[in-house]
Amino acid sequence: MRQVIASSIVVLVLAVGAAASSSVQTPPAPDKQAVIEHQFAVAPNAAPPAPKNPHYVPPHDPPQPQVQLRQVSSKELQAPVSPAIFTPTSQWIDVVGGTQIAVYGGSHGRAGAIYVWITNLETGLDDPDKGLFVSRTPPGPLTLTGVSGTTVSFEGPSGEGTFDLVTHAFR
């Protein structure tokens, strides 16, 4: 009986020890630790904290669009979304009253999809109406052919189709 209890205690101690060792985080290597320390060290000659002025408004510096607007393009397809989520084939961009509307045709996995990005260029903040919209057409990427009003035209594996920027409906 004593042997059983003693064995149980040994097993318990070993189990606790193993559990403890498995929850220990290894410290970063010295070179990485030095990088961390550098990142958070305040320079000895740093200025004292500046006064805060929450009412300060900087001089207006209006954003200047530099690409050709209202044209479908299949070049320079740097979409503002990870390629793990969306692979673009084409894009169309416009700026109306300080709001940028960028529409991308492409695919989400194997499914055809449209990615819409609407941004207030003055505040730099996105419109909540942006997002990824996945078509239910047969698998294959969508390629934009034009945008008129709120209607996006595209070509996909099953032929031509449209996407409504307001209702987000595919036809």
Binding site: A20, S23, V24, Q25, T26, P27, P28, A29, K32, Q33, A34, V35, I36, H38, Q39, F40, A41, V42, A43, N45, A46, A47, P48, P49, A50, K52, P54, Y56, P58, P59, D61, P62, P63, Q64, P65, Q66, V67, K75, E76, Q78, V81, S82, P83, A84, I85, I93, V95, Q100, A102, W117, T119, L121, E122, T123, G124, L125, D126, K130, G131, L132
Partner: protein, 292 residues
Amino acid sequence: MLWGLVLTACLVRATTPAPAAAAYPYVTTSYYESTTSTSTLFSQGCSAGSAGAVGSIILDFGRPAYRAGAYGTMLFGSGGFASNVSILQGMKAFADGYWNCSPVRTQVIIARGTSNYCPEGSGCSLPTPSYTAAGSYWGRRTDDLASYISTSGYSSQETSAAAIDAEPAWDPDYTSTHDFIAGYNSATSWFMFDYGSLESGYWSNAAAYYVAYTGANFPFPEIYYSSMAASWESLELWAVAYRGAAMLVIGVTSEWPAGALTPHEGYDAMLGQLQSHASTYQSSIDYLTRIR
């Protein structure tokens, strides 16, 4: 002083047995930038400050580019080319906005983001003649923001860093990504977050490790699906076997709702993977951001 507390917490956590995951880090908002307008970037910084944002904020100015003797990037959307100098001016404005609008005890790392986008056949214009030089200049401008923060009296709440959305599929032969990072690390030692992906079939583990963890680089991976966390854990285990230790995953990037996982789900997926092996164990991950 406050940064000292952060560092102390980091050191203590790294050397003591850790509890199970506690509270999530604050979810900051990071941005794909269409402009370097100082008033726009000020507004974004003020928005972060007003919200009391704490952690790391990545301002992604797009892939490296070069025009008329100036290194810079191609912005997203309608932005076109932006020189490194104009990006620096925008980032200074972001720092101003955060400082003026934030409460007194919040702290952020402001990361100057780029990518390795420019896959073959993609028709990239204004290509960079030297990625090593591009990386070096990226580092110097990151230094310049650090100096601005220091001389402006923002050091108690802000620090400067860089970031790269490094996607293996965008640079299959890895050369330009390697050169950019080598150039960066030759110029400075501020954090360089790798907030990219690890899709298989492109880079060797040694290459992926270099991008994520050489010099001042730290992994800040995109976790949009559970499988992405598993890929990073696979690289962690390779690092243990071939580099002698796991990498410190410093942050998690989310792109919800376009990605399947919310920021907290992405955090849980990554931390769960790290905690699935004793050799890669982390008690927590410091930063969490949602890029949009």
